[in-house]
């Protein structure tokens, strides 16, 4: 009798349970979407509002329009007078950081991992140490050092700072990824008479392409996220990056929040596009190294 009962009850119970789990998952998914999008929705709503709409207490503007974007694009506000120039600065910092990080990181991990430089472990340790020092704790002495080097108000100061903090991660990922490339390739090239530079250029770099893309994206995003070093090193309107210009809006109490959010959205778009373009590579890069246990 019990068997018959089990047969009668089990499928029903199983189905309800599965439906309940599915519903709970849907609910969780919904919560996650709302949680992730709320501040971004907020940004968009304010950017689409007129100045008066912001203070109207609504959750969707009365008459949404793109006026604030127009003001940003035409540099029509005094915090934004050099907007395009500053946007160029941000790009310069991002690209230079990316190129230098990739170059220095791949060279260093090539000698340590492939050429087996004696005492190479010192270099790896130095990189690991830099990776785990919080950048903001080093900001004040770093600023002094830049004054000594005479680099304040030069974009290169920021490039140097971010490259310094991005390269250790690059070395870490490259040396992990490099282990998947067989040493025999290097050895056979060596027998064919290639010198280390040729091995680096024609064997190592092409095979490292996925890791290069991941780390390059990482460096670019890091540069785009960085505020403190930008703020400390760059103070004239011509040397500023968008991050510093954006934070200037917070200096006054009656800032035009719609313009600020429009600027913020324009600033956020390039990294978002780059991230979603290279999402798969990023995932591969993260899996390969970073904090892999």
């Amino acid at each position: 009798m019990s068997v018959a009962r089990a047969r009668r009850v089990a499928p029903w119970r199983y189905r309800t349970r599965r439906r309940a789990v599915e519903a709970a998952c849907m609910l969780l998914g919904l919560v996650l979407i709302v949680w992730s999008l709320a501040p971004i929705y907020n940004m968009a709503v304010i950017a689409l509002s007129t100045h008066d709409d912001i203070f109207a207490g609504t959750i969707w503007p009365e008459n949404p329009n793109l006026d604030s974007f127009y003001v940003v694009f035409t540099e029509g506000f005094w915090y934004l007078e050099r907007f395009w120039h500053q946007f160029g600065n941000s790009f310069f910092v991002g690209l230079m950081t990316m190129i230098l990080t990739l170059l220095i990181g791949s060279l260093a991990s090539f000698t340590v991992g492939r050429m087996r430089l004696r005492n190479g472990w010192l270099l790896t340790n130095a990189a690991l140490m830099t990776y785990v020092i919080p950048a903001s704790f080093l900001a004040i002495p770093f600023y002094r050092i830049m004054q000594i080097y005479g680099l304040t108000n030069h974009l290169w100061a920021v490039v140097a700072a971010i490259t310094t903090f991005a390269t250790p991660y690059a070395i870490f990922i490259f040396s992990q990824y490099g282990k998947s490339i067989p040493m025999e390739l290097d050895e056979s090239a060596r027998i064919d008479g290639a010198n280390p530079l040729q091995i680096y250029l024609f064997i190592y770099l092409p095979l490292m392409a996925p890791a290069l893309v991941a780390v390059g994206t990482y460096a670019l995003l890091l540069a785009w996220n960085e505020y403190l070093y930008n703020f400390l090193m760059l103070s004239t309107p011509d040397s500023m990056t968008v991050a510093v210009a954006l934070a200037q809006f917070l200096n006054s109490d009656e800032s035009p929040w719609n313009l600020m959010m429009a600027t913020a959205i324009v600033y956020a778009l390039p990294p978002l596009m780059i991230y979603y373009m290279f999402r798969r590579n990023m995932a591969a890069g993260l899996t390969m190294g970073g904090v892999k246990g």
Partner: protein, 305 residues
């Protein structure tokens, strides 16, 4: 991949390390040596010019004992220390626990789970500055979206969140979690995906239910990764400047400052750079052991790969 290797052979690892060490001892000769040194040179230069020099310079700046007396006499410093402890303690652990649970959620099959994941990553891909500024305005007591919604739904006037010490601190922590949760979820997700499915099948054959599989398969295999993540994020959270600076701005009346922001405040608002450095240096007793443990753990994981 690494996790299975970690769980299984111990003996094999020793031999590969020995071989590697022998190969290393062989060293390089002639022009190869020059090439190798030349390739290493850019990073060595960067390290000396932009890491070692500032570190030593900082140690020198903060070497005056009177600075520390001045620091400990400042009540804002004590507040900042407590805030930092709460910020790091809650921010890191809550985030990691959530990331662990969510990584399990994202292991589920189905197209809409993938779609949720794409949206879920958005906070991490958004640059910090715009995101935190938006959260700052979102929480504004009079015109912020949150209180507008609250009023529309319930008719209650919400509190002025950023005018209170505890809610301000909570907002900073929440913003930090919001921004970084996707990243750690992805890391733990990739850790989970590296666990071979056969282990779960074997456990299921042995009669393990869901809970058993979690405690006897997933947790032991993920433990090391989880600990590395927690330690790494502790260091990141300790040095996090943006969330506090842009969400609460350190207010009201500098009551939500953390060590990272108060140091900068000392150096550039009050023009006491040495005090700022000294303030950051007081974190060293916590930071240095943390860095040592982390370096050990990261090096170990590198060898095992």
């Amino acid at each position: 991949m690494s996790i299975t290797q970690q769980a299984l052979p111990v003996g094999r690892r020793l031999t590969t390390v020995a071989i590697r060490r022998r190969a290393r001892r062989g060293g390089l000769y002639g022009s190869d040596r020059i090439w190798a040194v030349a390739f290493a040179l850019p990073y060595v230069l960067i390290f000396f010019a932009f890491v070692l020099y500032p570190v030593v310079y900082g140690l020198w700046m903060g070497s005056d004992p009177t600075l520390y007396r001045q620091l400990f006499d400042d009540p804002r410093y004590l507040t900042a220390v407590i805030n930092t402890l709460l910020y790091v303690g809650i921010g890191v652990n809550v985030k990691m626990a959530l990331a662990f649970l969510l990584s399990g959620f994202f292991m589920r099959k189905g197209w809409w789970i993938k779609a949720v994941l794409v949206i879920f990553i958005l906070p991490w891909a958004t640059p910090a500055l715009p995101a935190y500024m938006s959260i700052h305005w979102f929480l504004n007591g009079q015109w912020g979206m949150l209180n507008n919604l609250l009023y529309l739904l319930t008719g209650i006037d919400g509190p002025v969140y950023l005018n209170s010490h505890w809610m301000g601190l909570g907002a900073n922590i929440g913003a930090y979690i919001w921004k970084n949760l996707p990243f750690w979820t992805l890391i733990l997700l990739s850790g989970r995906m590296a666990i071979p499915q056969e282990l779960y099948e074997a456990a299921a054959v042995d009669g393990a239910n869901g809970l058993h599989r979690l405690t006897h398969v997933t947790l032991p295999l993920m433990a090391n990764l989880y600990i590395v993540c927690v330690l790494l994020d502790t260091v990141f959270a300790l040095g996090d400047f943006n969330a506090t600076y842009f969400v609460s701005g350190g207010g009201p009346a500098m009551s939500t400052e953390v060590l990272a922001t108060l140091g900068i405040r000392y150096a550039y608002t009050v023009s006491l750079p040495r005090l700022g450095v000294a303030e950051v240096m007081t974190a060293l007793p916590v930071l240095i052991p943390l860095i040592f443990i982390l370096m050990r753990k990261l090096r170990m994981s590198e060898q095992q790969l």
